[in-house]
């Protein structure tokens, strides 16, 4: 009896299922039987077909059947499943390469740059596109691909910028700024709009939130990781102490120069003047670099007191590296050191001079080489320069006093 009623309505039930979004025949067979069983159960309780059937159909949400079909077809799509597995394996591999690269970088082992670059490029050009494509295809409804595309571009740009920054390649700055711009004018507005549209319907999409957080973390990592204020203050104090010491030593040197003027030292006068001139030239060069740094942060003529909180890494690069001032200075300082080495024959005095001019040798390259200048904030670079200035003043004093006493 019940079976007969259901059979009478067979075509109607089937067309209702098709209307609700089923097209895959094998799934229609399953669902048809399932729905009929549900109706039969209600009818067994004594209800009529119409009310039973309506209750069953109403209990199936509008989007449920297309979702089931989409999920079923995805499960059956071997190519898609392979692609998904490949994406995970590939993502894991590239992430491991990148992490090993960062470890190498930290330990200053060779090959770090290549590992990081290869790992990141694999992530950007293979893993992420695959991830976004599979993720997009796995969505039950055809969503607007613009979300996936903007999401991909944002994270790709961030990672490429990070690689440029880590490798010190030119253009890193522009990439960082454009990726920040991309987040601000592309990703965030789109995400907010998306979140509002779907509010109430379903939970906000977790992967997008995660990506947003990763993006923010990347920007924070790439931005100047500011030195602690305390450390900057220490550099500041040391720099001011160095400057005072330079003044003091230069006053004492000036008194020596007066002494040198008397007739007893006539034969030394030319040499002493030569030393003094060269030391003065070097001091001028140091001063130029310092003024350049201060001018770079936008306040020409300001004192270091006023600008030291402006923890700007580009200042040193601009004033010391880019215009060649740093290498010219080190070249001159090395000449100064070898000149003093020839003139001063006393071992003790010679050792003192060597200590003072240590910065002109490899030590300066190690502590304050190109990378050091690039990575250090304004205050540290400024301090290093005052240290060099102090060394020059002291070496000059020691050399001149040696010459006067011998």
């Amino acid at each position: 009896m019940i079976a007969a009623v259901i059979d009478d309505n067979y075509d109607r039930i089937r067309s209702d299922l098709v209307r609700l979004g089923l097209t895959y025949d094998r799934l229609i067979d399953d669902m048809l039987d399932h729905v009929c069983c549900m109706v039969e159960e209600y009818m067994d309780q004594g209800r009529d077909f119409e009310s039973s059937y309506n209750q069953v159909i109403d209990s199936i949400g509008e989007k449920t059947l297309p979702e089931i079909q989409h999920q079923t077809l995805l499960n059956l799509d071997k190519k898609f499943q392979r692609m998904k597995n490949f994406t995970y394996v590939f993502g894991l591999t590239s992430a491991i390469i990148t992490i090993i690269g960062s470890l190498f970088k930290r330990m200053h082992w060779p090959g770090a740059g290549i590992l990081i670059t290869v790992g990141m490029m694999l992530i950007v050009f293979v893993f992420l596109p695959l991830y976004f494509i599979t993720n997009h295809r796995a969505q039950p409804e055809r969503k607007n691909p613009v979300y996936a595309i903007v999401g991909y571009l944002t994270i790709a740009l961030l990672l490429v910028a990070a690689v440029f920054k880590i490798m010190h390649w030119p253009g890193a700055g522009y990439l960082v700024y454009s990726s920040i711009g991309f987040i601000l004018i592309g990703f965030i507005p789109l995400y907010v709009v998306n979140a509002f549209q779907r509010s109430g319907k379903e939970k906000a999409n977790l992967p997008y939130i995660v990506m947003l957080l990763v993006g923010i973390a990347c920007v924070m990592l790439m931005g100047n990781v500011n030195m602690s204020k305390d450390l900057l203050d220490v550099y500041m104090e040391e720099a001011l102490a160095n400057e005072l010491r330079v003044e003091e030593v230069q006053e004492r040197t000036a008194r020596l120069l007066e002494v040198a003027q008397d007739s007893a030292h006539a034969n030394q006068l030319a040499t002493i003047a030569q030393i003094h001139d060269q030391a003065r030239d070097l001091q001028v060069m140091v001063n130029d670099m310092q003024e350049g740094m201060i001018a770079f942060v936008g306040q020409p003529g300001a004192s270091i007191n006023e600008v030291h909180p402006l923890d700007n890494k580009n200042a040193g690069r601009e004033a010391i590296l880019d215009n060649g001032a740093g290498s010219a200075f080190i070249r001159e300082a090395k000449q100064f050191a070898s000149m003093l080495d020839e003139l001063v024959k006393d071992e003790v005095a010679n050792n003192q001079i060597e200590d003072h001019l240590e910065f002109a040798s490899l030590v300066w390259d190690f502590e304050h080489g190109w990378d050091g200048v690039r990575e250090s904030p304004l205050m540290k670079n400024y301090f290093k320069n005052t240290d060099a200035s102090k060394g020059i003043a002291l070496a000059e004093y020691v050399a001149i006093s040696y010459l006067l006493h011998h």
């Binding site: 079976a3 007969a4 259901i6 399953d30 009929c36 979702e67 089931i68 079923t72």
Partner: protein, 110 residues
Amino acid sequence: MIANDLLKGTLRTIVLKLLADNGRMYGYEITKKVEELSTGKIKLTFGALYPVLHKLEADGHIATETEYIGKRIRKYYTLTDTGRSWTEQKVDEFFDFVNTLTYVLKPTPA
């Protein structure tokens, strides 16, 4: 009621085990059986069930036999030979997992 995210990974194992114990079953019967065995705590919806069944069939773990019930087709699902040994393996894996979780979540006092 058991939360859906806890069930997610075990759905396949449940379906396989039911087929191993009951021979051949059709979809609606499986959902009813799960409800009965779990005293209503696990509600296996058709939305979760059919994608899994079709996947298992495509992978060769289960096969179908069709019968007409009036005009409509009823598909009975049965385990294949490979599906049978795979089920044992999956069930063992599951108990292993549960035991491990028990150790982790209920550490015995030292």
